[in-house]
């Protein structure tokens, strides 16, 4: 049973460029969340996608956008890259439940983005 996979593993971009990161959720999961983890910090919530729509968003500018496909995979897009966008980007998948508000999130290994 494949867990959460992310691509690419590492990425180097320059300021002002755009980047797309990809995530495939764990088999059977329908919800994808994206987090940014800066060096020495905990993961920070960017947004969550369910049924191909953004369901909730954290305190990130509009430069950060996403998409979820019918097969539940997801993309994170970041436009006009800044040096401060350098971080580990984590994708987490979960299964939505009408019974419980708490859906355990399973994380992928992340994509390390470096902005020069």
């Amino acid at each position: 049973d494949a867990g959460v996979t992310q691509s690419p593993t590492h990425l180097i971009k320059t300021r002002g460029q755009q980047v797309t990161l990809r995530c495939s959720p764990k088999s059977g999961h329908d919800t994808v969340s994206w987090y940014q983890q800066a060096l020495g910090q905990g993961p920070q919530f960017i947004f969550q996608y369910y049924e191909e729509e953004e369901r909730q968003r954290g305190n990130f500018p509009d430069r950060f956008s996403g998409h979820q496909f019918p097969n539940y995979s997801s993309e994170l897009n970041v436009n006009a890259l800044l040096l401060g966008d350098s971080a580990l980007y984590l994708c987490a998948s979960s299964l939505f439940s009408f019974v419980s508000s708490y859906n355990e999130q399973f994380f992928g290994p992340g994509t390390r983005l470096t902005v020069l």
Partner: protein, 112 residues
């Protein structure tokens, strides 16, 4: 404003002894708490969770304690093993929201 705080960046414990990792939170709306473990080059792995209706949850060597009045939770690992050496993150969420709020992590080193 850091709503979830892990004030100890690192902790060293001898193999076989107890490891105690602490976490404080400020938002009284949080009602579900989790601990994740992270090895280098891997994503966080779920360890154990606790709902605010409980004050203790056990899973093998891992026990999480919740003190709601103090807004404090702790993770106990007994006995500690070298393979437990990792960064441990505390996370919290509220009913009806979908985001986890993470602390900054505590690096645990278990010495053989």
């Amino acid at each position: 404003d850091q709503q979830v705080k892990q004030n100890s960046p690192s902790l060293s414990v001898q193999e076989g002894r107890i490891s105690i990792l602490n976490c404080d939170y400020t938002n009284s709306m949080f009602d579900y708490f989790l601990w994740y473990k992270k090895y280098p080059a891997e994503g966080p792995t779920f360890l154990i969770s606790i709902s605010s209706i409980k004050d203790k949850n056990e899973d093998g060597r891992f026990t999480v304690f919740l003190n709601k009045s103090a807004k404090h939770l702790s993770l106990h690992i007994v006995p500690s093993q070298p393979g437990d050496s990792a960064v441990y993150f505390c996370a919290a969420c509220s009913s009806g929201t979908y985001k986890y709020i993470f602390g900054t992590g505590t690096r645990l080193k278990v010495l053989a």
